[in-house]
């Protein structure tokens, strides 16, 4: 039984670990914090011994654990600005050393834009637009009522769309 659980766990981990870390990292914005939350989520997940029959159910459960950890950490620690500045410095140095260009800069610019949203808005947008979850699944992951979630997601989308439109206008004005 235990061996069977372990095999299912290894398969589940192989399928989802990288995208899960990526989701945490992009929504919390700090690599060390992402590592901590990632490990803590899996430890809690394994300790809870959820029903392992349904992989989709497992994934929702895992993302729900991570959501609460991310929101909790973001409330306690205001690391975003500091972490971002450190990252810019490291990237600039690396780019200077390696002679690299646009890809990293573009990524940095996009990250900067994404960070103008609130943590929960980032999470909702990521789950809906990158992971492709339905309203019902996101509501379960974030312990939010579906109707309330629709409004929150609408506001997040509207805010990001406005930022992007403003950037586009600014870009056109400069050229």
């Amino acid at each position: 039984m235990e061996r069977n659980r372990k095999e299912i766990w290894e398969k589940f981990y192989a399928n989802h670990s990288r995208s899960f870390w990526f989701y945490i990292y992009k929504t919390c914005g700090d690599e060390n914090m992402a590592d901590d939350i990632y490990q803590e989520s899996f430890v809690k997940f394994l300790k809870a011994k959820p029903d392992i029959a349904n992989e989709k159910h497992l994934k929702v459960y895992l993302y729900r654990i991570a959501f609460h950890l991310i929101i909790d950490r973001m409330r306690r620690i205001k690391v975003e600005k500091k972490s971002f500045e450190e990252k810019v410095h490291t990237y600039e140095r690396d780019m200077h050393d390696a002679g690299q260009e646009s890809g990293l800069l573009l990524s940095m610019e996009m990250e900067k834009t994404f960070k103008r949203l609130k943590p929960k808005q980032r999470i909702l947008l990521w789950l809906a637009y990158v992971e492709g979850y339905s309203y019902n699944e996101i509501a379960r992951m974030t312990d939010t009522k579906e109707n309330s979630l629709k409004v929150q997601l609408f506001r997040a989308r509207e805010k990001l769309a406005n930022i992007l439109k403003a950037q586009e206008l600014q870009g056109r004005a400069q050229t």
Partner: protein, 159 residues
Amino acid sequence: MSKKICTLENDVMKGLREERMSAELREHIQGCPVCQDIAVVQGWMNRFKENAWKTDMTEKTLPTAEGMWNRVHTRRKPDKKLVKKALRPLLIPQVLFYGLLMAGIITTSIWGFKKFGNILDSRVISQFLPFFGIMMIIVVFSLTFCAIVVAFDKRKHPV
């Protein structure tokens, strides 16, 4: 109040995410402000994910599944039944020791009281002192033993 939800938004999101847009959906987007916003955001999110994946994930190493599994299962709290079973051999000397100690204390006390009466009567203080010393040694030893047992009992055993 502006329109917040479109019935086709899920189809638009899916189509844009998977880059499979039908002509109908394209036409719908032209006239729907909700879906226009969705298209802007979905397109941007796709590019953001692709760029970030290249820069953030190519060199990122994560813990192995085996490592995570072991981390959780070696950290597990000891099973109380197993701890009790492991400590069972200690019970026999413990009970024996307390039995002997009690017997010793009772005997010595009775004897000591008799002697104490004699001391008061017959001035033989030097005869009482060895018994008092033995009693003290027994008490000190028993306290030390108890302290060791308690300390051992409270230690966390990885079972």
